[in-house]
């Protein structure tokens, strides 16, 4: 039986006066990979950013509806948004390590949440780097600058940074958009491993990527959720004409 981790109910989202997400309803299953796909500008990233309230930071952003994680509406007044973001980690489209050392990048989240003990920090940083399949490549230069790593390594470092604080959920916003095929393959392999421990939501406009990695797929167009279901089913027998058109390359 599939257990739901995130439930989105009647979600509407505006930038200023522009309605970007229209009445979205679906549930994201726990410890699986859910892809959100759709043409550029359909609101995929906006939807993803509703899940850790990153949109709060944007002037003129407004939202109605509910996003329920583990039974709690994350937009309720009582919710501590900083704790929420610790629980819902995020990896961005462009690798964005801090201009600090590799070690300091991974330790950052731990430190801001109050971990001071040097040995504990080291153990956790090492574990996160191992879990992100990066440790062996960087163990000789943990205190070297993160910005000297390759793009793919930087992205895995960002994954290590995100998982170091032990989130439940990991959000990926087109994580491979700026990477070459080899680096992309490494990230996709990593996603397969990570889903044992984390609920993963990945935004992609790459159909093959959704087909390769996702257990469930949501198809978004012009701010509407067109279709949601198991990836196999969506790809083999789409129920909506628009999904079929997109999959066969007639739109998007």
């Amino acid at each position: 039986m599939v257990k739901d981790k995130i439930t989105i109910i009647n979600l509407n989202f505006w930038y200023g006066k522009k309605l970007v997400l229209k009445n979205i309803n679906f549930s994201i299953p726990a410890k699986m990979i859910t892809a959100i796909m759709g043409p550029s500008g359909c609101g995929k990233s906006t939807l993803l950013r509703c899940l850790n309230r990153m949109n709060d930071l944007i002037d003129g952003a407004r939202l109605t509806g509910k996003v329920i994680i583990d039974g709690q509406d994350i937009y309720a007044r009582s919710v501590d948004v900083y704790e929420l973001r610790k629980k819902v980690g995020m990896v961005f489209q462009k690798p964005n390590p801090f201009p600090k050392s590799i070690f300091e990048n991974v330790a950052y989240g731990l430190k801001i949440h109050g971990l001071r003990d040097k040995n504990m920090l080291y153990t956790k940083v090492e574990q996160a780097l191992r879990d992100a399949h990066l440790y062996d490549e960087v163990k000789e230069r943990l205190h070297g600058p993160a910005l000297e790593l390759s793009g793919g390594q930087q992205q895995r470092l960002c994954i290590a940074r995100a998982i170091a604080v032990k989130p439940d959920i990991l959000l990926f916003d087109e994580p491979c958009a700026s990477l070459d095929p080899i680096a992309t393959a490494k990230i996709e392999k990593l996603l397969e491993v990570l889903k044992k421990d984390y609920t993963i939501v990945i935004v992609t406009h790459n159909l093959q990527q959704a087909a390769r990695v996702a257990d469930y797929t949501a198809f978004l167009m012009l701010g509407e959720l067109v279709e949601f279901g198991p990836t196999d089913r969506i790809f083999k027998s789409p129920r909506d004409q628009r999904t079929e058109n997109y999959l066969t390359g007639r739109i998007g």
Partner: protein
């Protein structure tokens, strides 16, 4: 005809650049030639003697150092925090644009006006008297716009990606600014600080009424004492000296020291900016 015009035009712009560089070069060479005769180690480490006709400029050197450091001590926190507010908190409202224009206008105000302001506010109103403290505060206000503007640029140049990465890990604004934004902007901010020091060390008008004295025996004993300062020392020697045949060379020597000091400080700023740019990869 066209080629003649072309030639004339080219000659004109070459003449312009030659004139510009020529003036600058002449200034530097003139100061060096006239100042070199009194220059020596003892000129830097001795006090003036015999009615300012002999000895060195040590108290003025120390005074300028105190005034410039005091100015930075005051203007740095104020300026950087103002810049943080303008970039990170204020958004792009009308009010903010007005504040920014105000700050930029402030940097165009003649420095003697700052001197009068310092006299009215720090010396009289706050009762600090003519002192290192009054002078430092006045110079601090003078360099504040520079520090704000440079810091603002440096903070604005920190990519939004870094802030987002920090927020996404559950950091609040203050943590993000302290741990990510300011360290990343630091080289840029330092450039502003150094330019500020250079400006503060070289200004005369703001300290005439607020801090400087023609001559005092020894160094100031507290921040409420008057001080000697390099630019004022030059001014005083040239206008109030009674034995110009001895004092004018000393004034040139002082000018040379001041010139080298300011050049060295600006060179430091260039080096920091250069290193920051080379390291930058985002």
């Amino acid at each position: 005809m066209r080629r003649v015009l072309e030639f004339l035009w080219l000659s004109l712009i070459v003449l312009c650049i030659v004139t510009t560089l020529g003036c600058l070069l002449f200034l530097i060479v003139y100061i060096i030639v006239n100042g070199a005769e009194v220059m020596s180690i003892s000129f830097l480490i001795e006090s003036p003697r015999a009615d300012m006709t002999r000895g060195g400029i040590f108290p003025a050197l120390v005074g300028s150092f105190l005034l410039a450091s005091g100015a930075v001590l005051f203007a740095l926190p104020l300026g950087v925090l103002s810049a943080v507010y303008l970039v990170e908190y204020a958004g792009d409202r009308r009010m903010v644009r007005i504040i920014r224009t105000g700050v930029n206008t402030l940097s165009g105000v003649p420095s003697v006006v700052f001197g009068l302001f310092g006299l009215a506010v720090f010396v009289k109103l706050f009762g600090l008297g003519v002192s290192v403290l009054s002078g430092s505060l006045t110079l601090g206000v003078l360099i504040l716009p520079t520090i704000i503007r440079v810091s603002e640029e440096a903070i604005r140049a920190v990519p939004a990606d870094f802030r987002e990465a920090s927020f996404a890990l559950g950091a609040d604004r203050l943590t993000t600014i302290k741990n990510v934004v300011l360290p990343t902007a630091l080289p840029g901010i330092l450039t502003g600080v150094i330019l500020g020091i250079g400006r503060a060390a070289g200004e005369t008008a703001p300290i005439i009424f607020t801090a400087a004295t023609f001559y005092r025996r020894g160094l100031p004993r507290s921040f409420l004492d008057e001080v000697m300062a390099l630019p004022y020392h030059i001014y005083a020697l040239m206008t109030e000296g009674t034995k110009p045949e001895y004092q004018i060379p000393i004034a040139y020597g002082t000018a040379l020291v001041l010139l080298l000091l300011v050049l060295a400080i600006n060179f430091g700023a260039i080096m920091i900016r250069f290193r920051g740019r080379r390291k930058k990869r985002w």
